[in-house]
Symmetry: C2
Subunit: 530 residues, 2 copies
């Protein structure tokens, strides 16, 4: 095992004015280490000294959070416009972009309405005369429309190396459009946008953000909004719909919702329906965020944002973005500074990595956008029964709207819970039902896609579809991409191309789509040229 | 896809006095669903009605947390003795047990000292005259010494079905001892125990809990304490050391620390060194817990415990205890009540499952115990270089203690940070270094155990060792058990038995060791009889 012998000194935060001890070798005991740390080295120096008393542990990471809270409170800048922010990480920033504003309402899958809405977007390449070379590029959860640099915003985009002349998305041939999703915070209408219904009521006419009065969204709602932008741009049919992660889900959804308006479909590290493990991982992130007192049930826009909850949520998310084997190679068990004693604040390199990922993010993104979009991902399921329900609900909502029935106050009030009556009881008996379990496992191991999913994907049965998965992805595991492929094939599609990148090709897990210009980018470019 | 049509009503919490709408079928639209939910059904009924205004979302799960905080504040019972608690989950409760108190100090690997310490333990079976039939059973992170019911505590233990006449641990043949680990909260000395150095200072002599003045612990420290108990019981040599999860780590550690005092070694779903993914998962749990304002940097014993942080930490942990495929079978995408609109509070069955797991746990276990033991797991590494460092530090600490040098105040103060000088920079260039990466990957894919680990496990080279792993375990993945096996074999051990339970045998992931009496229990029983 390799060790890092760092001798760096750092500026210690307030309260901690002690210095690091000089490094000296004690070859008598071991030949490459410095003095063993003082017992409970991570201690406030004010503690009394006694051989039987252990000093109070120090928590510099909590000091730092408290300092940020205090600084935010003192500066007290209302956090409203995320789209104007600029941070150190190109992927999650935005800047000058185009906008399209619809004054027709967007009626959502679960009954909410956006009376007007704006879509932030950027484009690369040139739309041809027949408007037949457009590619709609869908983003992951947290990205802006800035997939690539533009003349008005030269900073690199989140897919900078995948877009350009001769690149995977070839700007010599295609007109590429990328939008910030509805619900986002980079210029498109989302929870941080002003709720127009509050403008009339407010005396000064400025209005208040939607916050958690924003309606529940689905990925299909986001896609519908994107197609109204296409209408506005005069694009009747896309050459291709392309996306990764959440964008890989939307890319399929675009084809299913508008099969006649989509040519080819590329879905990378996505799925046709969210599975319980990824729902679980997103659920814990949301619960952690919502438990930050500064979240204030979503109404933090005139105060400070829930930066601690956001940091923690991002740390959890980051665990799912890469793979264990990659971390094994990259960090192994190395500590940030092995000359110091263990600490409950970041200590191992993997911990400082997660901590840093959370730091970069905690003020970059709108907490409510995260909640709504994350939930929309959980709700995603292209199975026919779910799609049928959705169409049914939409019809009913339309009838209600036409009938002027308002939003249903006359039906005896609203339910406020989706919790079951009884707390969920763990099924302890499972341990003994080996026979039953084995039967169910056999079914799983064959993993034939359910009939409803085959049916749900049938609108794509004549499309050329490329599905890419990554074996080291734990968030969207490779069996989910295989499920898409199998469902399409079972539904009669003979034009499905499936590429699974093994652990010998990529250990970057879910993040592979952001990094691998050869094995992802190359395959996409080839598929579009075919 | 199956759906659950529940029609249950539940008592709504304070603030929400609305009723659920009656279920009616609208067969015109779809033949098995009730009325589509009112737009933004999860809304407080006080909102005004307007077709363009979406009502405020309701958060009953946050209401419930606030209610608990308020109840805890009003009752204001200082939380001190966890060992007397009794909850709904046998695994994590305790009751009458034996205790052994050492008045000699326990000197810890990182320099801390427990001037005296108590070990809670329970036993089953009878120690034979030669004291040669003892099995030391090591627990997972959160379990008490109550592995099996006893005459004085008849409630079932956490390994109830694995212990008894003719069972895996056969009480007709063996004398089985299970302890609560040092650092725990079920009767053994831990952060919730009174710090003896505070008793003299306090006027009433009652003293204060260690809290975060408790010293950093290692799993080796816990094992040393266990062996002082064995000394006290007159047991010179164990017939076997047996454990699962953290206990599987300790079981190996016992053999490595005291090779001449351990006969056979059984390590189930454990590892020889923690890897970055499991460190990451435990790190985020700790950070979430430490961010609960009620944690108060560990000093919550005279106020209310950080029940929200504990609940969240347990929800995250629970994600790692089972497997995605098991959840796919068990919960799939079913919602707790599909007649209601989506909510940010628990909604899908997997979410109510996680929520319930957190609920059961949040007041059951001591937060500081979780932090210290979780950290001890991260620090675990039986590699020879790490063990050599540990021995070196221990010698130095002993020299310091003998020399009366105190805890090193004279060395220029204490450092308080293990953070690196610069925030960790993501290595963006990796995307382009395909060649290098591939070389590194090849090395990983062969996964030869590092030389230092082979060396570190050499004390076990003549022991009979059984290593069990579970393919569906994501917390202690199967390659970690294979690493133990390979390291032992490379070190010359010809008596290693390795069993890996495939996904066709168990989808229960890490929890398999608690559940599978046949494939885990059976193999253990056989190994001990051989």
């Amino acid at each position: 095992m390799k060790r890092i012998l760092t001798t760096t000194l750092r500026t210690l935060p307030r309260r901690h004015t002690t210095l690091l001890r000089p490094l000296t070798n004690h070859s008598r005991i071991h030949n490459f280490h410095s003095t063993p740390p003082t017992p409970q080295d991570g201690a406030a120096s004010s503690s009394s000294s006694s051989s039987s008393t252990n000093p109070q542990m120090a928590f510099p990471c909590l000091d730092a959070l408290e300092t940020r809270t205090s600084n935010l409170l003192n500066n007290h800048t209302p956090v409203k416009k995320f789209s104007s922010g600029s941070g150190p990480e190109p992927s999650y920033t935005t800047g000058p972009h185009l906008t399209y504003t619809s004054t027709s309402p967007l009626h959502l899958d679960w009954g909410g309405t956006l009376p007007t809405y704006t879509i932030a977007y950027e484009t690369w390449g040139t739309l041809n005369n027949s408007a037949s070379n457009a590619i709609l590029l869908h983003t992951g959860l947290s990205a802006s429309s800035h997939a690539h640099s533009t003349p008005s915003n030269p900073s690199p985009g989140w897919w900078e190396k995948f877009i350009g002349p001769g690149k995977a998305l070839d700007t010599d041939k295609y007109f590429i459009i990328c939008t910030n999703v509805i619900g986002g915070c980079y210029g498109s209408t989302g929870p941080s946008s002003i709720d127009p219904s509050t403008i009339n009521k407010a005396t000064n006419g400025s209005g208040e953000p939607y916050a958690t009065k924003f309606p529940i969204l689905t990925l299909l709602d986001m896609v519908r909004a994107q197609f109204s932008l296409l209408d506005n741009l005069g694009i009747e049919k896309l050459f291709a719909s392309v996306g990764s992660s959440m964008g890989g889900m939307q890319s399929l959804a675009a084809g299913v919702l508008y099969p006649e308006r989509v040519g080819r479909v590329v879905s990378i590290s996505g799925c046709a329906r969210s599975h319980p493990y990824s729902i679980a991982m997103r659920f814990v992130q949301r619960q952690v965020l919502m438990s930050d007192p500064n979240w204030s049930r979503g109404h933090y826009y005139s105060s400070i944002p829930p930066h601690i909850g956001m940091k923690l949520a991002r740390e959890i998310a980051t665990v799912t973005y890469r793979s264990g084997p990659e971390w094994e190679q990259r960090f192994s068990r190395r500590r940030a500074d092995s000359t110091k004693p263990p600490a409950l604040c970041p200590d191992f390199l993997i911990e400082t990595y997660l901590d840093h990922a959370g730091e970069k993010w905690c003020l970059e993104y709108d907490a409510n956008s995260l909640l709504y979009i994350s939930k929309a991902m959980d709700l995603f399921d292209l199975s026919e029964d779910v799609m049928r329900d959705m169409r049914g609900r939409r019809e009913e909502y339309a009838v209600r709207r036409d009938g002027g029935g308002g939003d249903g106050e006359d039906e005896g009030g609203r339910c406020t819970l989706t919790l079951p009556e009884e707390a969920y009881q763990e099924q302890e008996e499972e341990a003994e039902t080996t026979a039953t379990t084995t039967a169910a496992q056999e079914e799983t191991s064959t993993r034939k896609p359910p009939k409803d999913l085959i049916e749900g994907l049938k609108p794509l049965q004549n499309h050329k579809v490329l599905v890419i998965g990554v074996a080291s992805d734990i968030l969207f595991p490779a069996w989910q991409q295989k499920e898409i492929v199998d469902a399409l094939k079972e539904g009669g599609n003979g034009n499905v191309k499936h590429v699974e990148l093994g652990e010998d090709v990529s250990l970057f897990g879910h993040d592979t789509f952001l990094l691998d210009t050869v094995n992802v980018g190359g395959v996409v470019g080839e598929f579009l040229r075919e």
